[in-house]
């Protein structure tokens, strides 16, 4: 089977507030693949998610990110979203006063408009919502509440994946989606993510712990250290990390630098 690259990152360097965090990152993600990025605190995991989704305040200092052949870094954040880049936030924000259903309908229709599809009316939209909600075991009453307001930590994370199910992204970036979830919620979230996996989309799972990868099984695991990917492997690499921690790799790295 020919490999169809969705995202190709070359020598990406980026920072925030004058501090360089990503220092030459390379990564290729093909259709149908699930990649996991692991690394200790401060290695640049969340910065990678922020730069790929276009979060204001982050500065690209060099390198490229090509998404379906287009320059991803040149697009506005909303354009990236409409093109199918989805970020499941580590800390989903609350938007008081804005009804969840209204918000989601606007989002779905922006994406549909962009794809040249007809916008959904209220009835069709609610049908879609009901269907996708079941997967995440979300209570329908959440939809009549303001976006994320008063949601529990678990509800917020499930709501993120529910939005992913509605928007059907080509590239989903999950930023520490497992943080703050108990084991049952984790299973539900992971199950949802797995159901959304297709041969024509890809997932980039950013996590601190191996735990999530028991449920979302990656094709590739990358270790991010000081702004670069220093080691890549199959899913067994995650287990290694779980057992030995990041120290052996850090040591190896520092030896390389001094050598």
């Amino acid at each position: 089977m020919n490999k169809n690259p969705i995202l190709e990152i070359r020598n990406l360097q980026a920072g925030v507030e004058g501090r360089k965090i990503l220092k030459g990152l390379d990564l290729t993600i093909n259709a149908g693949e699930v990649h996991a990025i692991m690394g200790p605190n401060g290695s640049g995991k969340s910065t990678l998610a922020a730069v790929l989704s276009g979060k204001p305040g982050y500065e690209v200092l060099g390198g490229t990110a090509t998404y379906f052949g287009k320059d991803l870094l040149d697009m506005d954040p909303e354009e990236r979203a409409r093109e199918g880049v989805f970020l499941a936030f580590q800390y989903p924000v609350e938007i008081p006063g804005v009804n969840s259903t209204y918000f989601l309908k606007a989002a779905v229709n922006e994406v549909r408009k962009h794809r040249g599809e007809e916008e959904l009316d209220a009835i069709d939209f609610l049908k879609l919502v009901k269907e996708r909600m079941k997967v995440l075991h979300l209570d329908e009453s959440l939809l009549s509440r303001p976006v994320n307001e008063g949601f529990s930590g678990g509800e917020k994370k499930r709501n993120e994946i529910f939005q992913m199910a509605l928007l059907e992204p080509k590239l989903a970036i999950l930023d520490e989606t497992d943080s703050g979830l108990d084991i049952d919620a984790l299973r539900i979230v992971a199950n949802g993510v797995n159901k959304l996996k297709h041969s024509d989309n890809a997932q980039l799972v950013i996590t601190h712990y191996q735990r999530l990868l028991d449920y979302i099984v990656p094709d590739f695991v990358h270790v991010l250290l000081d702004g670069r990917i220093v080691k890549s492997g199959g899913k067994e690499l995650a287990l290694e990390l779980e057992k030995d921690g990041y120290d052996p790799i850090i040591e190896q790295e520092s030896n390389l630098v001094t050598a």
Binding site: G54, P56, E59, P77, R82, L87, P96, G97, A106, Q163
Partner: protein, 482 residues
């Protein structure tokens, strides 16, 4: 990465959409104010002697008063001798008998503002009394209202056709001695609306007026009087926009509402006067006195306002709850952008027993706008078991604007229950980014958040007015989206 347009900048850079001038010859008095100007205004309108006398008393009283300095707004001293106190579209001297007789230029102006008079009136079932400068140019649905005994006409017409009613009620809620601008208005008011709902009649449609200021240096002094007799009900809508001008224009209107036993008056305003340019030049000074007297038992007065325009707003629609069990409500959205200043709020005066009042105020400050809520809840000794609930929220957009709250409470009866809640919040960059990450533009994100914040107030507006208010807020939040 592309340059991200700052939403705050978008706010600040958004231009007033309705800035155009209609080319209509005006017939105006020369600038300045003295007794002969007051007499001239009265004469031009062929007013009866008693009204002239009332104006002159007001004028003489005004001369003894000083301009109020307590509001939290700043502006250069107004030279009242430079203001034109009367101007009327010339082609309209004898008054049109129907819409066909209305100057097409005027109709075009309304169309530009999205107020296609004929369609709108017919489709929405709204009787429109359009005030262009100082003289009413169109009145519709009069016949239908007349069948029910409802009087809805321009103030001048009311003076001609129903002098006994005007004489009986004029100044009973806002006397000419009330305050500086009310006195000025009483002396020089040019026109406005008059509405009378007889006993037991429920007005079958929303009554509506559109105001517009369109002649250079024209002070606009509207006078509105609405009387609901026992058991009557009326919902009244007032909306306005003004063309772009360089010089500041003073607007000092007076609105009086009077509700007898079991009567209800619902008064809704969407105000979008020219706020001045980005440097704060031009713009309307909106110094208005609005007051409702809930005189009868079980009567109700409800104010809803959406204030997006004006350079300076100074306005406190109030309720005097005199009748036992009477109810007063105030729902407000006030937006200040660029260098706009607003000092607005309400007064709830509880006199009767078991009187209840609700205040919901939503202030939005953007750019370098300054937004002040000023409210008074006063419970008199006689107001046993009076109840008030106040909620004052402020929303800040950017870090150069300001929000201020001045709540005053005076409670003289120990059985009263008075509650006050206040919050201040800010539209966060993270909220906007969250919306963008789901495919919404920055502008849509800001609009959505602001509309969500204002929902409680918009819900109080009649349906099509709510849509308009939402649109208006969008226009005022609009910028050059990159």
């Amino acid at each position: 990465m592309s340059t991200v347009v700052d939403p705050i900048e978008e706010f600040v850079n958004s231009d007033y959409k309705y800035g155009f001038i209609t080319d209509v010859e005006s017939e105006s008095l020369p600038p300045g104010l003295n007794e002969s100007v007051v007499r001239a205004i009265s004469a031009k309108k062929n007013e009866p002697e008693w009204l002239l006398e009332w104006r002159l008393k007001a004028f003489r009283h005004w001369q003894t008063m000083a301009e109020p300095k307590w509001p939290n707004v700043h502006y250069p001293t107004i030279d009242f001798q430079k203001i034109v106190y009367y101007s009327a579209p010339k082609s309209n001297k004898d008054g049109p008998k129907s819409l066909d007789e209305v100057d097409p230029e005027l109709l075009k102006t309304y169309a530009k503002l999205g107020i296609p008079l004929h369609e709108r009136a017919r489709l929405a079932g709204v009787a429109v009394d359009a005030v262009f400068d100082s003289v009413s140019v169109a009145t519709t649905f009069k016949g239908k209202l007349a069948e029910k005994g409802i009087i809805f006409c321009s103030f001048s017409e009311a003076v001609r056709e129903h002098p006994e009613l005007v004489k009986k009620y004029l100044g009973t809620v806002v006397p000419y001695t009330d305050n500086y601008y009310a006195a000025l208005n009483s002396a020089v008011f040019s026109d406005g609306s008059f509405c009378f709902i007889p006993k037991g009649v429920r007005c079958p449609m929303e009554l509506s007026t559109y105001f517009r200021i369109n002649a250079k240096n024209t002070g606009q002094f509207e006078r509105t009087l609405i009387v609901a007799e026992a058991g009557a009900y009326v919902s009244y809508l007032e909306g306005c926009t003004a063309p772009m001008r360089d010089e500041n224009q003073l607007h000092a209107a007076v609105v009086e509402l009077l509700a007898m036993d079991d009567a209800e008056i619902k008064y809704s305003t969407v105000q979008n006067w020219y706020p001045g340019d980005k440097e704060g030049r031009g713009g309307i000074y909106n110094f208005v006195t609005k007051r409702g007297l809930a005189k009868g038992r079980n009567s109700k007065i409800s104010w809803t306002q959406v204030e997006t325009g004006s350079a300076i707003t100074w306005k406190y629609p109030s309720c005097v709850l005199q009748g036992d069990n009477s109810v007063g409500e105030f729902y407000s959205v006030a937006l200040t952008n660029n260098l706009q200043q607003a000092d607005t709020g309400t007064k709830m005066i509880h006199i009767g027993k078991n009187t209840r009042s609700t205040i919901v105020s939503k202030g939005i400050s953007a750019g370098r706008g300054q937004n002040s809520y000023r409210g008074l809840v006063k419970v008199m000794k006689s107001a046993t078991h009076a109840r008030n609930f106040s909620q004052c929220d402020s929303l800040l957009i950017g870090d150069q604007c300001g929000a201020h709250t001045f709540p005053y409470l005076e409670v003289k009866n120990t059985t009263a229950r008075v509650e006050h809640e206040a919050t201040t919040s800010k539209i966060g960059e993270d909220q906007i980014f969250y919306c963008q990450q789901r495919g919404l533009s920055r502008q849509d994100a800001v609009n959505m958040i602001v509309n969500g914040y204002c929902k409680e107030v918009f819900r109080q507006l009649p349906m099509e007015f709510a849509v308009e208010a939402q649109k208006l807020l969008g226009v005022n939040l609009e910028g050059s989206v990159g």
